[in-house]
Each structure stands twice: as C-alpha cells, then as structure tokens.
Symmetry: C2
Subunit: 623 residues, 2 copies
C-alpha cells in the first residue's frame, strides 16, 4: 500500500471533494493545454499544403487564419452559453443527448472519445517527434519514450486534478509567455521596418511555384488542415464541475482566457509568417524545419530565447495529452451513468478521480502509439473529425435547448448557437470530404463501432435489470431447509467442522465420498463410529455416506454430477453444497495443497443454478 501512497498520494475522503476543485489559473493548464498547443501545429498543417504555390502561397495564410479565427470566435460564444446553461457539465454528450435525443448524444460521445484518444497519441508523438529530430540518437527509442511520457501523465492524473494543474502550470505559461514575447518582438520590428522587417536568421527560400493560383479544392484542404488548431476547445464546457465556486464564472473566465490567447497567437503567427516570408518545408524531406522554429529564429535569432521557446513547444506538445485525461474520464462517467458504458467508469478512486477512465484512455492511447510506431504523420488524418462532429451536435443541441427554454434572451442565444452549429457543420463536411480517403474513414468507422457497442451495453443492462429488479416485498415461508451436500474425502478436523456446520443448517444432509484408486475403505468403515453413533445418541438421523465411483480418477466431476442430479430430482428444494477449504497462511505453501476447493467452487458457480447455494467453510492452518 505504501508504494501506491507514494505514487498516487494518500486516499482522499469524499468530503475532501471541494478542496480538490480548481480555479482559473489551474484551469488554464488543465483544460487549455490541448487548445493552446494547437497553435504549434495548426498553422503549419495549413502552410504545408501551400508548398506547391511556393512564395505565392504564403499570402494565403492570412485569409485562411482569419476564417479559422472567425470560426473560433463563433464557437467561443457558443460554448460560453453552454457553460452557463449547463453548470453541472455541458459536454457535447450531455447537451446533444438532452436536446436532440439518445442517438445524437451517443454519436457526440463516441466522436469525442475517439478524438481524445487521438489527442493523447498525437500530442505525445508530436512532442517526442520534435525531441528525436533534435537528438537523433533517441530515434530508435521513439515508442519507448512515448510510452514513458504516457505513464508519467497517467500517474499524475491518477493523483488528482489539483496536483495535475500544478504540474502543468509552469510549462503552459512558459509556452504562452515565450510565444507571445516572440510575437510582440516580431510585431514591433515589423512596425518599425514598415511591414518588411529583416529576419535575424533568414528562413529558407521557398521553392519556385508548381502552381500559379490556388484552386478552391486546395483552399478547402488548407482550411481543413488549419482547423486542427481548434481541437480541444470544448474541454472547459465538459469539465465545469471541476471548478470551484462560483463554478460558472470560473469556467467561463477560463474559456475566455484560453480562446483569447489562442486567437492572439494565431493572428500573430499569421501576420509574422507573411511579414517574414516564411514558407513551410516538406516534413518528409531532409532540411525540414518547423514553421515555429523558423519564425522564432527570424524574429530573435538562435540564442537562448530560441531554445527556451522551442523547448517549451516540445514540452507542451507532449503534455497536451493531459486535457484528454481531464475530460475523457468525465465523459465516460456521464455515459456510464446512462448505462451505455460499464458502470465501473463511474467509481471514483482513492484520489477522487474516475480512475477507470484514466486507465482505459492510457491503454487505448498506448495501443495507438504502438500500432502507429509513435509517428505523428500517420495519425493526423484521423484527427479533427471527432472534434467537429461533437461541436456541431453540441451546438445544434443548444439550439433545441433555447427553443424549449424560451424566455428572455433565448432567441439571441439561439442565433449565436445556430450560427455555431452551421459554421462547424459546414466545416465538418469540408474536413470529412477533404480527408476521407486519407484516413477520416477510419475515424468514421471507429465512431460507428463505438456507438454500436454503447447501444449493446445499454441493451444488456436493461435486460439484466428486467431480470433482477423488483420492488416487491420479501416472500416468506415457501422455503424449507435446504438439502445439504458435504463432500468428505477423509475424516479429520476439516471434515468435522464442515459436518458440524451442516448440522446447524438442515436435517437433510448427504455426505459424499469419491472413491479413488489409492484410498481404502477406511472412511466407510469408520463412518458409523465417528458420525452414526454420536448422532443417533443425540437423537438425530445420521447422514448416509454416499460413495461416488470415479473411473477416470477425477474428484470434482463426480461431485458436480451428483449435485446437479440432486438438483434435478428435487425441483422444489434448495441445495446447499458445503465446500470445506484449507486456507494456507503463506503463498509458498500454495503448491503443496490441492486447490480442489477453489476449483469446486468455480465449477459449481459456472454450472450451477439459482437453487444451488455454495457454502465455503474455511480452515486456517498456522503451519
């Protein structure tokens, strides 16, 4: 237990709950890491598709970023309203299922779950990918490093939210701080130079254009890729309950800060890219350098500031997984409470977190990392579908919500959310079409599979409830004492104890003995003396000793068969099978004794019926 205490912290009582809740400053790293770190790969993902246009392509980044920022702003106002309307946690699942119905709700939940798993895998693999391009000797250990980081994040999250917040605060603020500083310096220099600053370190010259003008299809693809900058925005709305009072205000303030910072970063990056003429380099080729790396080098040179900034980018990317760890377990719990996932997702562990969700997320992400070898490029095409499907359903749900609620401001709110739903819905269609063959179909398939499983789980829970639930008062008087069956292999204290207990239960006792090759008839000869006589003296009918043949030397099979036969012969009786068991004190005594009692219990449970009850009479040995 002490190892667990060290790793996970001391158990917290349920009454400690409030203390474990967070404010804005801890909320930003916990719920904002995913969204904020998107700034590190969103613009680059868009620019990469513009490479065929050469230097001409750079100019497109400003309108594309502008449209993403508009979309982001719409989504921000949408989610602000959601937080206010659902202070108990307004994740896409809750909103969609409450307002649109079960199926859209499950669709949203499945979409988000897939996206969270991908966030973890992509975040970690992107961070480690950057690390190994800096230190190529680590290349062969990519997957191991990914899994190592995953384990650390998992343990931190099992320790609980507050500690997770403290752990992630420093790198988050370092990342935001250095990036904003670079943007400020760059903007200042740009203004001083009248819009055309001299780069400190010149970015590589873009190749000559292969295409002269961007087609609409190309721009849609660029936009789709850029939209990865928006993943993670829904996190706050899903985790409202984690904030301390005033819950809604704190959550909204956190969302505002996160989206505000993200917008500032996206705007700054877009303008500086154009001002410094930075084109993306091909990620698959030698000489590749990330856009942020070129940008910071152009603005501030390759001094200590460059290394601190790029270092914090690496750290933040691999830690962005943490947002998923904060949200995925809450989502699973909400779904489980509606019987669509195993109920165990709703149990809170020693540190008041939903441990099972955390562990399941870690395991699934680990499988993805191992399957894809920790390579980000292979995972990216699966990404963002889930997030936009959830956005759309959530906002469509909010529209239905306002239509039902009505009252003051409802129409205004409905328009805001309706705008969000339309905008994200169009984006979803664009992203799905643009990326379908390159990987989005995998996500679509996984979402469908997950929704089917969830429906199957609820079906099972319903069937079980139908079979077992009853609010009827207790029926009494129909049950007589059970037929008690006591297997006895030899006479000794253990058998005596079992028989003594049997005598307190019922007058109808059957002692059964399996005849094996090595044994004599000792027990049969002794039976009268040790059982028959004393019971007759006490005025009770002594139980008969029934010998079961065993041609194949099996001990348990004949007993099991006998029990099932008795059960069949007495359809109106209960059968109680007494299983005497010798319990060893030390594990190293385990192989010295046969484990027949354990096996008999397992067999009886597996093959038994409602009327067969198992009674385990343990005998503890000190030896």
């Amino acid at each position: 237990m002490s190892v667990l205490d060290i790793l996970l912290g001391k158990p917290l009582a349920t009454s400690d709950e409030r203390a474990e809740q967070i404010g804005t400053s801890a909320g930003i790293p916990i719920f904002g890491l995913d969204a904020l770190s998107s700034a590190a790969y969103g613009p680059e993902a868009a620019l990469t598709l513009l490479i065929p246009l050469g230097a001409l392509g750079i100019a497109y980044i400003v309108p594309v970023s502008a449209s993403i920022i508009v979309l982001l702003t719409i989504v921000y106002f949408s989610y602000r309203q959601t937080i206010a309307a659902y202070p108990g946690g307004g994740g896409s699942y809750t909103v969609a299922s409450e307002n649109l119905g079960t199926f859209p709700g499950l669709l949203a939940a499945a979409a988000l779950m897939i996206d969270y798993i991908l966030v973890v895998a992509v975040g970690i693999s992107a961070g480690v990918g950057a690390l190994v391009s800096a230190v190529p000797s680590l290349q062969p250990h990519t997957v191991s490093i990914c899994l190592g980081i995953l384990v650390v994040i998992t343990i931190v999250n099992l320790r609980g939210l507050r500690e997770a917040g403290i752990f992630f605060m420093l790198p988050t603020y370092l990342f935001v701080g250095t990036l904003l500083a670079a943007i400020s310096i760059g903007t200042f220099k740009m203004v001083l130079a009248g819009g055309h600053p001299m780069p400190v370190v010149a970015p590589p010259t873009p190749p000559s254009a292969a295409v002269a003008v961007a087609s609409l299809w190309m721009l849609l693809q660029v936009f789709s890729n850029g939209c990865t900058a928006m993943t993670g925005v829904e996190a706050v709305s899903n985790g409202v309950r984690a904030f301390r009072d005033p819950t809604v205000r704190n959550a909204q303030r956190t969302l505002t800060v996160i989206i505000g910072l993200l917008i500032v970063m996206l705007v700054g990056i877009a303008f500086l890219i154009r001002a410094y003429g930075i084109a993306a380099t091909d990620p698959g080729r030698p000489g590749y350098q990330s856009v942020l790396s070129m940008l910071v080098a152009a603005v501030a040179g390759r001094g200590w500031f460059y290394y601190v900034t790029i270092g914090s980018v690496l750290v933040i990317l691999s830690l962005s997984a943490n947002t998923a760890f904060a949200d995925f377990p809450r989502l699973c719990r909400a779904v489980a409470q509606n019987n669509f996932l195993p109920h165990s997702f709703g149990f809170r562990g020693r540190r008041l977190v939903y441990s099972e969700g955390i562990v399941v997320l870690a395991v699934l992400a680990a499988i993805l990392l191992i399957l894809f070898g920790g390579v980000t490029d292979r995972l990216i095409p699966l990404f963002a579908i889930g997030a936009f499907l959830a956005f759309t359903l959530s906002q469509a749900g909010m529209v239905a919500h306002w239509r039902r609620v009505r009252g003051e401001g409802a129409t205004h709110s409905m328009i805001v959310n309706g705008l969000g739903a339309v905008a994200t819905g169009i984006t979803l269609v664009v992203v799905l079409v643009a990326k379908f063959t390159s990987g989005a179909w995998v996500s679509a398939l996984l979402i469908a599979a997950l929704v089917s499983s969830m429906l199957w789980v609820r079906g099972h829970y319903r069937a079980v409830a139908a079979e077992t639930s009853s609010s009827a008062p207790l029926q009494i008087g129909t049950l007589g004492p059970p037929i008690v069956i006591v297997p006895i292999q030899d006479w000794g204290k253990i058998s005596q104890r079992a028989l003594q207990f049997a005598l307190t239960l019922s007058p109808d006792i059957r002692a059964v003995h399996v005849a094996t090759e090595d044994e004599t008839n000792a027990l049969r000869e002794e039976w009268d003396r040790v059982v028959g006589a004393p019971l007759q003296q006490a005025g009770r009918t002594p139980p008969e000793l029934i010998t079961l043949p065993s041609p194949y030397r099996l001990i348990l099979k004949p007993i099991l068969d006998y029990v099932l036969q008795i059960e069949k012969d007495h359809p109106d009786r209960q059968i109680a099978v007494i299983v005497p068991e010798l319990v060893e004190k030390h594990w190293y005594h385990y192989p010295l004794h046969n484990q027949r009692a354990e096996l008999l219990k397992a067999f009886l449970l597996l093959h038994g019926s409602q009327r067969i009850v198992l009674i385990n009479v343990p005998w503890y040995i000190e030896a």
Copy 2:
C-alpha cells in the same frame, strides 16, 4: 476438450491399467534409450582426454573400456537382484530409504532427479548439436529446435507409456542395428586383415604426442569421462511396475538385453578404435568429427549406410531424454507418497501417467536448455555425479536388505551387491574429485538444495496433519445457529433471494448497507415496507438494516471490517456471510458488472477466521 483428445488421446479409465503395461520389446526403447545412447558419447568423452598422447593414447581405450565394462557387469548383477527383491519398483530411492533410512533415501532421490533433468537437457542438446553441425544454417535456432523436440517428447509421454514405446521403437532398433552391423563388418575385416585392416576412409592422423606416458591422474579423468556411458542403467529397476506379468521376469529380461547390447557395443567400439587407429579430434576446433563418424566411415565408407547410421545416432541422442520422462514422474510420485514432495505428483492424468512429474521435468529441462543456450559442452560437467551417487546408495541399501532378510542365498546376494556398492562408490569419489571444479560442485549444490526442500515439504505436511487430523467422533450440540450477515446494496431479486436463504438459516440476521455518495436513502426508506412488514406478519423479528459509512468510497472494506468486528464481539458464535452474486452467462459480459462478489469472497477467505463461513448465493442471468 477435443483438442486435448487429439493431442493426448482419449482419457483412460483406471481399469484400463493392465492394458497400458508393456513387455520386453517395448521396454527396451522406453527404459533403455538413455543407457544405449551412452555408447554414442561415452567412448568419445574418454578418448578426447587422451588427445595429448597423440597416437599413443589410442591404445589406452581398450583397458579403460574393459574397466568400465567390468563395472557395468557388476552393476548389472546388482540391479538384477534389486528387481527381484523389489517387484513393486526398486528405484534407488525406495531401496535406499527402506534399508538405509530417510536421509540416504532422499539423497538418492535428489541425485537421480538432478540426473534425469540433465539427461533430458544433455540428450536433446547433443542431438540438436549434431544436427546443426550437419546443417549449419540451423545454428541460430538451436534453442528453439531443442524446445520443439522437448515439446514433442512431452506430449508423447503425456499420451502414455505404450504409445511412447511404439514411437521410440523404430529409431532405437535402427540405431542398435546399424551400429552392430558396423561393428560386425569392422570385426570381420579386422580378422581377415590379421588385426590391421585398411580403412575405407582414413581417419585424420592424430597430432604428435605432447606427453609420452599417461599419468595416473589422467587415466582417472579418462575413466571418469568414460563412465558417462553408464548413465541410465538404473532406469529398469525404477520402472518395474510398468511391465506386464510376469513383471519381474520381463523387467529382468529387458535389463539383460539393454546391458548386453551396451557391452557388445562398447567392446566393439573399443577394439575397432584401436584396430583402425582412430584418435579423438578436439571438439572445440575446426575439423572436429565425432569418433563414431570416423569409425563408421573407416569401416564402411561414406555411403548410404554411413548416413543411416549417423542419422540414427542423432535421432537416438535427442530421444534419449525419453528415459528420464519414463522414470522421473515415477520417482517423484514415490517421494510424494512419503510426503516429501507435493501430493499432486501422485495424481494420474487422463492417460494413467503421472502428468505433473512429466510437466515439471519438461519445464525444468527447458529452463536448463534456455540458460545454457542448448550447448552440450556446458552441461556435461554436471553430469554422472547424480547417477553414481544413486547407484552407490541403491547397492549399499541392497546390502543392508540382504543382511536383514538372511536366508538361502542372502550371503551370496549380499556379496554381489556389496561388490557393486564398493565399485560404484569408488567411481563416485573418482568422478567427484576429477570433475569437482569443472562443474560437479553445481550438481552437489543442487542435490543439497533439493534434499533440504524435500525435508521442508515433509515438515509442512506434518504440521498440517498435526493441526487437522483427528479420528475423534463428531462433536454435536455445541453449535447454535450462526449470525448471518447479508450485504445489500439495493433492493431487487438478487437481494430478495439472499435474504430468503438467510431466513432459512438463522433467526439472527444483520442486513448491512454501505452508504456511498451516489446513492440516496431509497433502501432505508423502503426497508420497512419490503422487509419489516412481511416478516412481522409472518411472526418473525425483521432484521435491522445497518448502514456502514464509507468516507473513502470503498464498498468492500466497510463490510469486511463489520464482519471482523462481529466475529470479535461474539467469540462463541459462528458467523455466516451471505454473498449474493450475479453470474454472467457470457464471458464478454464480465467487464459490464462489478466483480465485488468475487472480491468479497476472496477478502473474507484471506482475512477471515475459522468461525466465519462464506455463503455464496448465485443469481444466473439469461441476458
């Protein structure tokens, strides 16, 4: 079950036992493989140590072989007597423990066990070693091939003795037949040529002598190595019970044939080595060729006969492990019957063989093969100590036996066995001294460890017997009805069933409910209606519903603590804990339900006491 049927054959009834026993022709491959295959490595092991003498060394093979054959003859007469005196199986363990006492018996048993494990590992690795020197591309797969052969031998043995005999008959007789043919042809040519035949393929010229005369120490080492030709001789005496009637005659005849064949082969090989001037080549160097290979090539050339002979040598070496598989399980069973090993070694599996011994031998040999990389050279120094220790103890035991029996012929028999004991005892000392630093110490250590474990096992069984055995008649009347504790989390058919059963057991029932965060007081509010009222109506005292607090959200711990508290508060009562359990029909429903019932049963068994009885009331769901 059908996969097992195919692999291991249909189960055999105990009454099929006689049919599963064997005659002489099947007995030779089963109990003689180890002894006969020794002819393939014994002479070579001796010759190798004579390399420093060059061509001069070859002459020493005849006197060394002669002394080994004398020793073998003495041992033969000794064991003939043992078989007659112990028709129930006269292994070294039985003879030594019955006549010399427990400790010498265990020493003999441990020595033989270690030797059997080594026989398996050495036999297989020698066979595979020869195979990979013929097909060098298999070299990297040495360990895998060793383990593959081990698996096949294990399965064949789990199928039972008779089938094992048939499986091994062909290669054994092919090996003996071709080797005897080679010896006959060689002897014929030698006689025709007046003692100096021309080799068909000349053996390599031995290097010039480094030493002129063999020292006594050298000759002792040569003799020690040659003694590996004697391992496996005790197998028949240990397995007498496997023979069909007349048991003793069949066993003795088998022993006679095995030793006779072995002597003929050793004599023939020794004379032909001298006649053809065959010196051993260094096994570590390029150009190495085995002595048998050079011998057969010299006698008959490298035609089809050569390849058939060498092929059968390879097969026989890797199958020589089988003797150990026939004997090791019988030995373990005999030791287990005296409580020095877990009793499970005495259970006979579906095919009437002692399955556990077979499996344990296979696992231990596999560990040796993996640890030593399947390389024979590293295993050889550990070898033969065990066999000679067992020979000596067995024959010393027979001397004591005859002294006790007396009567006609006893003195004569005593002299025969005494001679055997002295001869093998001296050999043991020679082998131990000559090989101590090169590996015999490992065997000595293992034997000591094994003997200590066996004594520890008996100690434990004795202590348990002291605690549990009793032939006293049943004590009645002291036990009142138990206090019944029924954990109830919610009201439904499962709880109803548990409570109904509790009512048939005792008037003293405590229903306990763990208060968890998510639950309301629904159960408490319902209790009177569903339990209180109907019971009062029936004239019974309704059980109180006891609510247990659970600050850390644990369900089982509060129940366990409550049970232990009740047990402490009522030192004169029995406590019965009813564990209602939902049993899933399909394994894939397993994760959908909490496994609290299983955990509670395990916890109660682990932390409980003699007075706490566990009652498992299952509820089977069809869903």
